[in-house]
Subunit: 237 residues, 2 copies
DNA sequence: TAAAAAAGAGAGAACGTTCTCTCTCATTTA
DNA sequence: TAAATGAGAGAGAACGTTCTCTCTTTTTTA
């Protein structure tokens, strides 16, 4: 067997307070800086494809390297570990979901606003960003993220953060609508938010569009459910 | 370093058509046969605990052996592979879910029947069978099974089988109720079943009871949602 | 501005660990 | 005594990661 025990060269002594003395233009916009961003993007999109195909645990770093057309040595210059990639992708996925709520227009019709957000969320989740993956790519990733969150504290914190944000956004909108008399005063808003979120997640998980249910068919369903949750006593206000 | 390259012994030739010549009474009810069932059960419950803790991929066969207080050699007498254990547990989990629908009493009030089944399902899912695991044990396992189904054909078939059964049971009940005039004639029953199933799964996933929402609080929610789905036009019939 | 030095990027073999599963051999049961 | 059962070492493959080395780009020096 080949002997690899040759003593390592001591690392060149570099003072801890060494500063990057390069021109800041080069640092930010130089060929290397731009290439670095592109490479990070390449790795993330390759990893996403692999994770959708095989899951966080099922996809190996070698798989990701092959998909990205890159050697392990190269990949590890951009991410310190597999976990770091998983966390990055998890955060990105949850953030995208949370951002959909930002487009929830402040309208006089809270029911229609909820319907619109629900449809938008389902549309986004059944959209195939990559183009060559399975139809339920986003839903698969969503499941991976949630499963990972049950045993990885960092991912759990990421999920909590974004879910908390979503909860507060919805709650704020509902509180305003309630004060405007658009929501039945009896309704427990916290429970309403939780219920609607659970429903949304259930529909994401099932991925209706991938099973042939068109978005238009989902619209009256969302409307009926939103009405039931927000105006349980009397349908019309 | 120790040399492990010693050539393996060829497997002992065992004729494929070897027969069990024991008395069939002994074979079925003898001490050994009974013990065998007990051992299988021991392995399954140990594996379930490990899978809930670490996921299907995250839990190793050694973990399961330790949990079961058993050597690998012993364990592999009862299950040919890790996958076989995963499939067994997946099937068991999905079957238990499907069986809850069997207790759906044929009643004059279809809404209350749906509410009862929903509550029962959530109760079962938030129940901790083992006793010493996390509160969301069933929900975690559910997520594992669904995630596994996206990339393991056998588990996917298991899920399809039981979901198909659930779908048909609900559809039959709804069809009868529709004919009895208990459901709005406008309702697309297929979509109603899918919607209610998705809602149920979303609520399972969120595990409301583990988050402090009591089952009683969930009852009016289920009632409102069931009503919205089955009687969208007019609340009372 | 040209040459020298440093830093960055990448390839790919190899590392140590862990994985699933199988082997041999000892013990228990019928 | 023959068959069933179990223990536990360990084989071999796969894992995530790190290694050394080469080539390119950027910065510093003359």
């Amino acid at each position: 067997m080949v002997d690899h025990t040759m003593p390592r060269q001591p690392a060149v002594v570099s003072s801890d307070d060494a500063e990057d003395t390069r021109c800041f233009v080069t640092r930010l916009f130089g060929k290397r800086a731009l290439n670095r961003e592109a490479q990070v993007e390449r790795i993330l999109s390759a990893a996403t494809a692999c994770f959708i195909r095989a899951g966080f645990r099922g996809a190996s770093m070698n798989d990701i390297c092959s998909e990205a057309g890159m050697s392990p040595g190269a990949l590890y210059r951009y991410f310190p570990s597999k976990e770091a990639i998983i966390e990055h992708i998890s955060a990105q996925h949850r953030r995208e979901s949370a951002e959909i709520l930002d487009r929830m227009a402040s309208t006089n019709d809270i029911i229609e606003a909820v319907v619109k957000v629900g449809i938008e969320h389902v549309r986004h989740m059944s959209m195939n960003t990559a183009g060559d993956g399975p139809a339920d790519a986003h839903a698969r990733l969503f499941m991976e993220v949630r499963a990972e969150a049950t045993r990885n504290d960092t991912v759990a914190a990421i999920c909590d953060l974004h879910e908390g944000m979503m909860r507060e956004k919805l709650l704020a909108a509902f509180t305003a609508a309630k004060q405007a008399g658009l929501i039945d005063p009896v309704v427990d808003l916290e429970l309403a938010v939780a219920t609607l979120a659970a429903m949304g997640e259930g529909i994401i998980l099932r991925n209706f569009p991938a099973q042939g249910v068109p978005l238009e068919a989902l619209e009256p369903v969302f409307r009926a459910l939103a009405t039931a949750v927000l105006r349980p006593a009397n349908k019309q206000i």
